[in-house]
């Protein structure tokens, strides 16, 4: 029986066609995995690099986004953008003097406290104050804890300073000011002035010094602002310097 069975099974063979088809199918089944691996690894690396870049860019954008603005108006008008970490991330001049001062100041990246100190100690500001200029310091986004901290600091900085005024305002008002090409301090002054002279344009206010604006307001109101709380519709706050 063993021989019979052996002969019987010996007669069974895989056909050449079956073998060839098997070879083709197996190679075909293996084929997709090869290029996929080759493509996958660089693709994975590229995806990781993109993610890292996005994280970096996202973090960078987050870092450079100002969460508060410090507006400085004297003869120059400029603004310091302050990020969430209390660092100055931008310096923008709103008139020619402001642009020149912005270029002179190297305060980007510094804590806003150091930047404000440097600004107030600059030759331009001290000279303007010595020439009977008027300093207006404001904070946009003053309704936040950071804004309050900044406003408190500005108020402390101007304690004992003649001709200085501090105020706070909302970021939406700051945006309105920028839309008109004005710094925050001059925007507040313009809002005050147009109550007396509706024809007054933002451009006219932009070209005036803060001392001129203050004088004009005194003329319109018929009273000395040194007795009042200063001008502006913002939420005036903190120290008001010794007014003229």
């Amino acid at each position: 029986m063993e021989d019979k069975l052996r002969r019987a099974f010996d007669s069974v063979h895989a056909s050449p066609r079956l073998k060839a088809e098997t070879r083709r199918r197996v190679l075909e089944a293996l084929e997709p995995s090869r290029p996929r691996l080759r493509v996958f690894r660089p693709a994975l690396g590229l995806a990781a690099a993109c993610l890292a870049l996005l994280a970096f860019l996202g973090g960078y954008r987050f870092y450079i986004a100002p969460t508060a603005l410090i507006s400085v108006d004297i003869t120059p008008s400029l603004e310091l953008g302050v990020n969430l970490f209390d660092r100055v991330v931008s310096v923008t001049g709103y008139n020619q003097d402001g642009q020149e001062l912005a270029q002179q100041l190297e305060v980007e990246g510094l804590p806003y406290t150091q930047a404000v100190d440097a600004l107030l100690a600059s030759d331009t500001v001290t000279r303007c104050l010595a020439q009977d200029g008027y300093l207006s310091l404001g904070v946009a986004q003053s309704d936040t804890a950071q804004g309050q901290r900044i406003l408190d600091y500005l108020s402390r900085c101007t304690v004992g300073m003649a001709n200085a005024h501090c105020y706070g305002m909302g970021m939406d008002q700051a945006q309105d000011a920028h839309d008109l090409g004005l710094s925050c301090g001059k925007y507040q002054a313009w809002l005050e002035l147009i109550q007396y002279d509706p024809e007054l344009t933002p451009e006219e206010v932009s070209s005036m010094t803060m001392a001129q604006i203050r004088q004009l307001l005194e003329e319109y109101s018929g009273q000395s602002l040194s007795e009042g709380k200063g001008y502006g519709q913002g939420d005036s706050h903190g120290h008001h310097g010794k007014h003229e």
């Binding site: 029986m1 063993e2 021989d3 019979k4 069975l5 052996r6 002969r7 019987a8 099974f9 007669s11 069974v12 063979h13 895989a14 056909s15 066609r17 079956l18 073998k19 088809e21 098997t22 070879r23 199918r25 197996v26 190679l27 089944a29 293996l30």
Partner: protein, 161 residues
């Protein structure tokens, strides 16, 4: 290229063995093709070296048996019949076997395996027990009953081991 050569050699060397096991288990040529693909794909993907040609052949037999069992257990297969692509004979002679082979194929599955492994592949009862995961005594019993059935069917004389 090395993989292709290795695959070609294995198909040439073990194709007949896989075909015979498929014959013992399956009646569908399409299923046989699937088993061939499964077995030789696993073979190509296997990275561990074989200790010997006998080890390699035993692995092929084991994998083929497992593939056949898996196919027969398949939920889908057990409940459906493909409407299209009905088995197309791989060669014109497929399905025409000798009376001895027909007698073997007429046996219940449990007998077909042991007959093939013992009388054709030459494995002993303990070795078949390992391959089929059965007790050695069970294999002896299956072999004895299979022989009896074949004797009755073929009227031949058992000269088995």
């Amino acid at each position: 290229m090395v993989e292709e050569a290795r695959l070609a050699r294995a198909i040439e060397e073990y194709g007949d063995t896989v075909q015979r096991i498929c014959l013992v288990h399956l009646k569908n040529q399409q299923d046989t093709q699937d088993i061939f693909q499964t077995v030789f794909l696993k073979y190509t993907l296997r990275r561990e070296p074989f200790h010997s040609p006998a080890h390699e052949k035993a692995w092929i037999i084991q994998v083929t048996l497992n593939a056949c069992r898996e196919l027969l257990k398949s939920f889908f297969r057990s409940r459906t019949q493909p409407l299209e692509g009905l088995p197309e004979p791989a060669d014109p002679g497929a399905g025409v076997y000798s009376p001895v082979l027909e007698a073997v194929l007429a046996l219940p599955q449990k007998y077909r395996d042991v007959i093939y492994l013992h009388y054709y592949e030459g494995y002993s009862a303990p070795e078949i027990g390992v391959i089929l995961r059965k007790n050695t005594n069970t294999v002896y019993t299956l072999l004895a009953r299979a022989r009896d059935r074949l004797k009755q069917e073929l009227g031949g004389e058992d000269d088995g081991r």
